[in-house]
Amino acid sequence: MYLRDTIAAISTPAGEGGIGIVRVSGPDAERIAARIFRKKEGGFQSHLFYYGAIVEPETGFCLDEAMAVLMHAPRSYTREDVLELHSHGGTLVVQNVLQLALREGARLAEPGEFTRRAFLNGRIDLAQAEAVIDIIRSKTDLALEVAQSQREGSLSHRIGEMKGGLVQLLALLEAHIDFPEEDIEPASRDEISARVAGFTLEIGEMLATYGEGRILREGIAVLIAGRPNVGKSSLLNSLLREKRAIVTSIPGTTRDIIEEVVNIRGIPLRLMDTAGIRETEDLIEQEGVRLTREQIPRADLILFIVDASLPLSDEDLAIYEVIRAKPHVVLLNKSDLLEQPVASFPRDAVTCSISALTGEGLDALKDQIADMFLHGRIDDARSQVLINNSRHRDALERASIPLQRFSENYTLLGGLLELLAADLREAVNALGEITGETSTDDLLDLIFSQFCIGK
């Protein structure tokens, strides 16, 4: 539920940029435009881009030269009147423009509120709305691509096609149910069952992408763990390519958990550098160790680092025991110091020889991570429909179950068309939750256009 008020927000990313856009949506958009945007005389025509300046109405003070466009409802993103003010980029200028719009009566939009309005006003469907919200939240380019292609309706489209196919089959069954006296050609039973099996498979494939879709959407939590001084912070820094964490040769440098997001092979990784684990008298360090231990169960992946220039210590092994049940990679760090690592690990452990200092082995590590989480399946994220939202997964699952039942019953119940039809209909309805419903009239249309029926 939303109030029919006017909202405003900066709609370009934070930071320096060529231009910055403030977007205003709602009934006051036009009034605000007239108040704060000065241009050559005359009102605003919808969808025309005007050159002018943004001006404080009371003082006449000019904030910036700018371009503005007013889009009248319903031909706008939110289907309300929308004003876009394009000023020069730079945090301060854009902030000032926004503040001015707010002073003139707009309210600061909540995250995703423009999209929510677009949805509530019926401009986009639920799948699209969710995709747009994902775009806003996307952390990496690849996730963005998936979200974008979904917004363009590739998910809706693919599911729509599938639903269309199922409705076709349903029409066939229904014709035989409702018109037993008509001489309509019997449907090829084998063909029907083959097509249903095909759809079931397709849904199964889409469902299988869910894990990957979720990973692209939410990222994975990666914990860097190990004894003090093995190079955890150095690894963080070299993956980030910036000096984020303090690195010294003193064991116990890192006391807190440092979290940063980095894009690795398209996957957003939430990297967490931690305090090295050891018995210590230092109270602050003790607390850090406790935090590290706490994080272990929550991590999706643990990068366990040992100093490969030294033999494995009991401490290394003790930590290894704690983390080995989780997905992990053993990193034999400081490979630059020697030809052959001194430390050795059970053969089944996944190990990577790296140097956090020189960057050696990091590419292999990245490949390794991508492999573990994406099974090498997302090269072409655009062309593929990735399910990355649990509502979609639920709907697809609820479509898949009756289709499987259909196939089981097909041989068993042979003649009981209405049970088969019930299964198909349940699947169609479940898919309809993603793309919109199919009415009985659509179904009847199909029947009557295909069969010569009636007395």
């Binding site: 539920m1 939303y2 109030l3 029919r4 319903p74 289907r79 949805f119 509530l120 006003n121 019926g122 639920l126 229904e174 149910i177 409702d178 018109f179 037993p180 006296e181 008509e182 001489d183 068993l412 119940l413 003649g415 009981l416 068309l417 209405e418 049970l419 039809a421 019930a422 209909r425 349940e426 009415s439 009985t440 009239d441 179904l443 009847l444 029947i447 009557f448 010569c452 029926i453 009636g454 007395k455």
Partner: protein, 624 residues
């Protein structure tokens, strides 16, 4: 204008299939009822084919019967061939159908009306409604008589401004041989109702003596015939066959050669016809690749030579009709007794109705039957029954009876009409019912008897019989859940036959019945009691057990939809300016004025988002 000195509780206009049920229902519920119709010799006349029932229609008849209506009993008394369709499919889509002796059907219904207490049956054409203070208060007739009534039910069928077409010739008529109803629909339009025009057609009636039946394939009814009504013990009257014939390429050429004189293709007819009852010219034009079309030659009765060739309706001129029917094998010498024709008529868009069938515009006025844009006797009768019940309930100051989509085809029918309106004649199909597996012919009594009894329509003896049946079903269900087949005592032949050899645990009879290959017939080999169970009870138990999984799933869906269905939208709810609703949606809702949130959700173009906004708004108002 003479004002008749008797004020009725309920006045029913039209004694067609809707009007007869409406009048009987209200009279049986104790209301002083008047049934007015243009021609008393055409009461419950079957305008088109001489048959009752069929897919979804049979379901409607059983429901009418369960509620206490007359149609099922009437066809049982006058049917001359009974068949159950789809016997090889599952129970939900099995349906009863019967050929009627058309004249006997009409005469019996008239007799029932005449013998009904509280009911006056009169001949008269209603030309206008008598309206007082924005509510209907009676009707005026052609002979300038005003009948006063607390409620009025219009069931005018195909009669309002009826126009009959044969070729390019046309004349006013409500049905071949009957006068039209003139004036009423103009007044309805003046009162603000949206009145539209529809079209339907009927084949010629042929002289059976001029048909070579030996060359046609006969089709017999079921033996013994199974009755429609839950109260009919058995069918005694003799049964007759139908015959199957086919058109051929030559027939289609004849049709094509006459198209230039077809009122349909020449654009004389403006009304919209039903897709599912296409005329033969429609079929030939739309499906040119089909080289023959099937027809059932149905007897019109036992005392007449007239027969009805189903599926061959046409509005082509007489000379084309003669040549066409004679081109069919076996019909080379056929004589037409009554020509085929099309008819256009006025209907009133049913989105202007509440689910009680009362109009939203005029209080105390109800519409039922073909006037609502439906076609078919059963559809008409179902609505007539509900309108009659609700008019009576209104007079008695009680809440209307509204059947849900999960309770009855009648509920689906009325909900579709009042939420979607009609643009073409509406006929019931089982595929219109999303809860089809629950809405079976076999359980119509279990679904509706209680409601018929509650409104006061069901005779006490029928109700008691129903309660007994229901108890016996419960008892038998309990028994099959309790009794077990023990591996140690089992008959080895049976075990072998059904792949049960080596079975470890005892199986209940219920578990056995759940298997597709075991019915009561098989069960009776182990269970001596099985065959003593009453067949109707047996059938019910078997269906409930066998399809339990599916039935439970649909019940689940019903449960999930219940909240929306039961959220009422007040009559005076203002959609205008409701924040979050697009103007388009606002306008739709203002036009349709849905009674419940469930209805609103089925209106085409109403988005799920709009429904959630409505739902929240209603909730907030409710809390205030």
């Amino acid at each position: 204008m003479v004002v008749y000195d008797n004020t009725y509780d309920v006045i029913v206009v039209g004694a067609g299939h809707a009007g007869c049920e409406a009048a009987l229902a209200s009279a049986r519920m104790g209301c002083a009822t008047l049934l007015l119709t243009i021609n008393l010799d055409a009461v419950a006349l079957m305008s088109c084919n001489p048959a009752i029932g069929g897919l979804a229609k049979g379901h409607l008849v059983k429901e009418i019967d369960a509620l206490g209506g007359e149609m099922g009993k009437n066809i049982d008394a006058t049917g001359i061939q009974f068949r159950i369709l789809n016997t090889r499919k599952g129970p939900a889509v099995r349906a009863s159908r019967a050929q009627a002796d058309k004249q006997q059907y009409r005469l019996r219904m008239k007799r029932v009306l005449e013998n009904q207490e509280n009911l006056h049956l009169k001949q008269g054409e209603v030309t206008g409604l008598h309206v007082e203070d924005g509510r209907v208060a009676g009707v005026d007739t052609r002979l300038q008589v005003r009948y006063l009534g607390k409620t009025v039910i219009l069931t005018t069928g195909t009669f309002m401004r009826g126009l009959i077409h044969v070729g390019l010739t046309n004349y006013a008529g409500g049905r071949a041989g009957d006068l039209p109803s003139i004036g009423l629909s103009d007044q309805l339009r003046d009162l603000g109702f949206e009145v539209g025009r529809l079209k339907t057609g009927t084949p010629a009636r042929l002289d059976g003596r001029t048909i070579d039946f030996c060359r046609l394939e006969p089709q017999y009814g079921d033996d013994p015939p199974v009755p429609f009504s839950f109260s009919t013990e058995r069918i005694d009257q003799p049964q007759v066959p139908c015959h199957i014939a086919y058109t051929n390429e030559r027939s289609h050429d004849i049709i094509r050669s006459g198209l230039d004189r077809s009122p349909l293709y020449a654009g004389v007819i403006e009304g919209i016809g039903p897709r599912y009852c296409p005329s033969i010219e429609d079929k030939v034009v739309r499906f040119p690749e089909k080289n023959r079309h099937q027809t059932f030659i149905e007897p019109e009765g036992r005392d007449t030579v007239e027969v009805y060739p189903s599926g061959l309706s046409t509005s082509l001129p007489i000379d084309v009709q003669i040549a066409f029917y004679r081109s069919i094998e076996g019909l080379e010498r056929v004589e037409i007794m009554r020509p085929a024709y099309a008819i256009e008529y006025d209907y009133v868009d049913p989105i202007q109705l509440h689910a009680s069938l009362e109009t939203k515009l005029l209080r105390n006025l109800y519409h039922a039957g073909q006037i609502n844009g439906t076609s078919g006797y059963e559809e008409a009768a179902g609505q007539g029954l509900i309108a009659g019940i609700n008019a009576a309930l209104q007079v008695q100051g009680r809440e209307p009876l509204v059947l849900g989509r999960s309770e009855a085809y009648i509920g689906v029918l009325i909900d579709d009409l009042v939420t979607l309106g009609t643009r073409e004649p509406y006929r019931m199909f089982t595929s219109r019912a999303e809860y089809r597996l629950l809405l079976r012919e076999d359980n119509a009594d279990l679904r509706l008897r209680e409601k018929g009894h509650a409104v006061g329509l069901l005779p006490e003896n029928e109700y008691v019989r129903f309660l007994e049946k229901r108890e016996r079903i419960e008892a038998e269900l309990a028994r099959v859940r309790r009794e077990k087949l023990l591996p140690s005592e089992a008959d080895p032949v049976f075990m072998e036959e059904f792949g049960l050899v080596g079975m470890q645990n005892a199986l209940t009879y219920e578990q056995l019945l759940r298997r597709p290959d075991i019915t009561y017939a098989e069960l009776s080999r182990l269970d001596s009691h099985a065959l003593e169970v009453n067949p109707a009870v047996r059938e019910q138990v078997e269906i409930q057990v066998k399809y339990q999984g599916y039935i439970d799933r649909q019940l689940d869906q019903v449960e999930r939809a219940r909240k929306m269905e039961s959220t009422r939208i007040p009559d005076d709810f203002e959609y205008f300016g409701l924040s979050g609703l697009s103007t388009e949606v606002q306008e739709k809702l203002r036009k349709f004025r849905p009674d419940t949130l469930g209805q609103a959700s089925r209106i085409p173009g109403i988005t799920p988002a709009a429904i959630s906004i409505l739902s929240i708004t209603l909730k907030m108002r409710g809390e205030k």
